[in-house]
Symmetry: D2
Amino acid sequence: MEIVKKGFASDNWSGVCPEIMQTLSDINTGHVFAYGEGDEEVSQAAYKKFRNHFGRNIKTYFVYNGTAANVLGVGHIIKSYEAIVTAHTAHINEDECGAPEKFIGSKILEINSTNGKIVPDDVEPFLNSIGFQHHNQPKIISISQVTEMGTVYTPQEILALANYAHSNNMYLHMDGARISNAAVALGMDFKSFTTDVGVDVLSFGGTKNGLMFGEVVVFFNKQLALDFEYRRKQGMQLHSKMRFIAAQFTRYLSDDLWKMNASVANDMAMKLCAEIDKISVLKVSQKVEANGVFVLMPAELVPKLQEKYFFHVWKESPDIESDIPMKEVRLMCSWDTTEDDIDGFVDLIKKLVD
Amino acid sequence: MEIVKKGFASDNWSGVCPEIMQTLSDINTGHVFAYGEGDEEVSQAAYKKFRNHFGRNIKTYFVYNGTAANVLGVGHIIKSYEAIVTAHTAHINEDECGAPEKFIGSKILEINSTNGKIVPDDVEPFLNSIGFQHHNQPKIISISQVTEMGTVYTPQEILALANYAHSNNMYLHMDGARISNAAVALGMDFKSFTTDVGVDVLSFGGTKNGLMFGEVVVFFNKQLALDFEYRRKQGMQLHSKMRFIAAQFTRYLSDDLWKMNASVANDMAMKLCAEIDKISVLKVSQKVEANGVFVLMPAELVPKLQEKYFFHVWKESPDIESDIPMKEVRLMCSWDTTEDDIDGFVDLIKKLVD
Amino acid sequence: MEIVKKGFASDNWSGVCPEIMQTLSDINTGHVFAYGEGDEEVSQAAYKKFRNHFGRNIKTYFVYNGTAANVLGVGHIIKSYEAIVTAHTAHINEDECGAPEKFIGSKILEINSTNGKIVPDDVEPFLNSIGFQHHNQPKIISISQVTEMGTVYTPQEILALANYAHSNNMYLHMDGARISNAAVALGMDFKSFTTDVGVDVLSFGGTKNGLMFGEVVVFFNKQLALDFEYRRKQGMQLHSKMRFIAAQFTRYLSDDLWKMNASVANDMAMKLCAEIDKISVLKVSQKVEANGVFVLMPAELVPKLQEKYFFHVWKESPDIESDIPMKEVRLMCSWDTTEDDIDGFVDLIKKLVD
Amino acid sequence: MEIVKKGFASDNWSGVCPEIMQTLSDINTGHVFAYGEGDEEVSQAAYKKFRNHFGRNIKTYFVYNGTAANVLGVGHIIKSYEAIVTAHTAHINEDECGAPEKFIGSKILEINSTNGKIVPDDVEPFLNSIGFQHHNQPKIISISQVTEMGTVYTPQEILALANYAHSNNMYLHMDGARISNAAVALGMDFKSFTTDVGVDVLSFGGTKNGLMFGEVVVFFNKQLALDFEYRRKQGMQLHSKMRFIAAQFTRYLSDDLWKMNASVANDMAMKLCAEIDKISVLKVSQKVEANGVFVLMPAELVPKLQEKYFFHVWKESPDIESDIPMKEVRLMCSWDTTEDDIDGFVDLIKKLVD
């Protein structure tokens, strides 16, 4: 079976890192209590790893994917008549085919954002709805860390949003599909920009950084987590052979595996950015802070590059001044991206623009 | 990490069969189009396998688990004001924490059944509601094959239900979480008791028979499947690294792997049944047709057995006449159950009842 | 326009009592704050009446109909993964086309009941599900007062259910579509069998007893009512010209109008029951305690009676021994039923059975 | 009971017009088949009136209010994974507390609009999502006629939207909460700007123009309406004493009552607009086409006027250049607004700005 060539389409085009594949094999022996029930030890070991990284007062639940982590985590702590405030670009708004609306029943209130980040002042106008029975009541602010535009919130920025949320009787949710890339970008442990700065619920992702499947909902307040096991089961997200999710995360959070994988991806993005900066007809359009590089390039270049390297066009008609038609493309680096991959790609660009 | 001993708790307490683990490793190379999009070849290969087994006029979609396959498959072809008619014991009714009610919005109309099976006459009384605007409109009959009581529908019985459904403008859904065990029990290919006898939508399971994760919604009419990809995404069931589900099913449906695994489980259940039949104080309470054995045993025996072998009590107070307190327990065999497992378990019983 | 003759079909076939029609006309002057917002005085007056009848620690909300009162009242205090336990015959289970499942997302757990009433022992088996993540968690017991079978709970019976509910961390809901008939039957004020015996949320009905439209959700604990205004609006149940609902209830709860109307209905049912008891081929099949009379009659009698008086057949094939085919019919009396209506109907029966 | 003074807050602050109140009284005699079931003649008469006005190939259903008409009408013809495209200002987007999201499960895609109207070019960008499984699929365009900004679509504009929708496999919904005001503004019958120009489903309102309660869902294609009675019942919108809704609409559509009421409201808005145009510090900010007048006025004027006349502030900080703080207010005229009301209000303004 032919496998398509490596490229820059998305960090979920890559496979499973060898350490995780080994773990899946190692854990595959004998019988284990299904659904993580009882005192099933594989899950307990994973929970302990999470407590090591995030502190003791958390509750951790495994689900299948990031959409589910967002929808069930947020949906567990707001009511259908409340609202989610988030950036227009957020995955929870743009890329979940309405799962939040369907499953939570809530409205999403969008904030326009060019770099994928939001600040308290962006949320302010929506608070006028508070107490007005005809409007959904803003109840949670959701941010993505790393954002969908490849940018990274500082702990100070997150703290400001958390304080703002809490002082307005709201919660702060973080979509951490690429949280390891953020931690590496910030040079911090996870706790510094989650537990320590007021995040209430987190979607902790691993699939984009070398895992096979599974995502984690982390509540930073056990009270908020109450009865989440029923939410998860009703949400069709309770895995029977739970050990195969749990063990991945135990391994992921051991021996800095998460950090090594994310470091490769981030480093390769930095290298890619640096190389592209040297090519005059290309322009990096977002600050490169993690593993994504957004690039404005001549439109005619795109199909030629895509013959050898797959990647997604982000905007067909970016709003910029140019003599020639331009497109904005998104180039994602992964745990398995190599210097050779970058060099090959950049060489091809150079050849084509010559 | 200590793994609990093997037992008879459920077929999802077992691990992943070696062939599948090998496949997961083999497929883990290079980059592959995420979400099964484009002409991603790993998924295409799996679709082809399903067409080989079920015929050409089907549509196949991967989801994460059986609850999702049931809820999304049924939910795609009925409306919220319609109803699902099923046996009281059905997984879709009893064991999904209300996922059908929450996600489809429909009412489930229960039929009492001692052996887990239903017949058209059981459905008949519910049809009185047709046309009465205050009642949910019966629209789909759902059966489990193998049933939750370990029994197996014959193709004739399924055909009768399908004909009845279709002549009343209804559909027939099959929850095939243990469909391979049913095929082995019947000595038939899958097609003979699905495609050929009028099933409209099928949840095709593998996790209980040696897979790691993933389940399949199979529509036997492409029109019914229209737009299911959006239903799946909104239903939080679209996996990004899709190859790791697809490849499992390609392997499962090759070289009779599904049949070999299920044969072991069924054979071991037969052996277990035969041995238990020889012990006078125990009584097999359901006809053993696949891989589950339901047994009435003295209540005091249960905790003693559970010290060494885990299994679930099905009924704490079964409705039978007996001089001593009795319990009904469920003993499930799996692809990895061995003759030694059976012998050890039976020997222990014999020792305890002596 | 021809209006069909008076009959015994349902208490909502009757019109609006003269006092209420007068009130609607009286209140129809000038402009009034829409949606009951601000300090709109018509609604405030109605709230005060409810406090007079039910005590000070209640919260009162107007909705359009009984289905909405049940669904929104119950739905506000339970989660989608929790369950409603109720009699099989309950309106919330049988006659709302799945509105509870659709809007709350919960499962309804049915109790078989011949007289429409339930007791704590009926609920007990469902509590086995508590803590088991695969099952909806029982959270509310719902009773109808008057029941759909025309029977009435005593305060002691309600108290027993409330105590049982509360000691199991559950709530008690009362569907009071015919609560005035119950109060008259018991010879008590409303408070004695609601507030005083532990009801948590009540659907207070009036339409079946002389009102035009509107129903009331009464919470007996202000904390439970928190934010209900958003639930109502999102539930499509917020009326703009609210004064026309509020004023009806103010009038209904003044000068014993509710009691006078219900007394007529109940008295007429008693008279009807007494007359039918005298006819040997007919048999009253439920204890007549309020305004409904269930009667077993020869099947051939039904169409002949329906030529002149409309009423509903309750069971086409009641489970009784009889030499001739029998049907069970339901005869409802209303605030506008007269002795002449009863006499005419009974005379016709007598003529037909002679 | 003191009734607040007449004002310009909203057309649902007014009461019921005398003709409708008389109708409610006239229809209140004897027993009538509940729920509009059977061949209940009051409803049949109303259906006939609608066919007279909209043509024969329609289906008509009564619900309680406009939110329900929008949500159930749209929700009946789209799926949860499809999307509604509408103006940001639309009631279905802004003022239903998320009822569409909760009950339909769909996402609403907003178009910014200064005058409340949209055109096909506004919808175009959303069609890029078609076929992309991660995005809700645009399926219905919803417009308000009259818009929430007091503007009116011409039949040509509606036709353009309908053609655009249909050529893209979408539907066109019209929220006609103020449809009579639109008809009067256009000088046309209803059919000319609905049936004749491709509207698929209409929310036909009356409460804002003299009715007590009730709204109508009109389908312009009987196939689309199939099974809507179950949707309505499950949607908690089936009235038992249906005659009291049906009769209102029969009367409303007879003897030009709808037209007379709407003409008063529109004429008074025109007069109000003309008077305000004469006052230099005030500025009418939207074209006045029906019964609403949007006015920019000095902020300090607002509380002084509200001491005698209630009205709503639309924008606390309108985006205009001004030396003094300004607010934008909304002044609604109703079927009961008189020339004296206008004169009194304008006189007060003149006195205050002198």
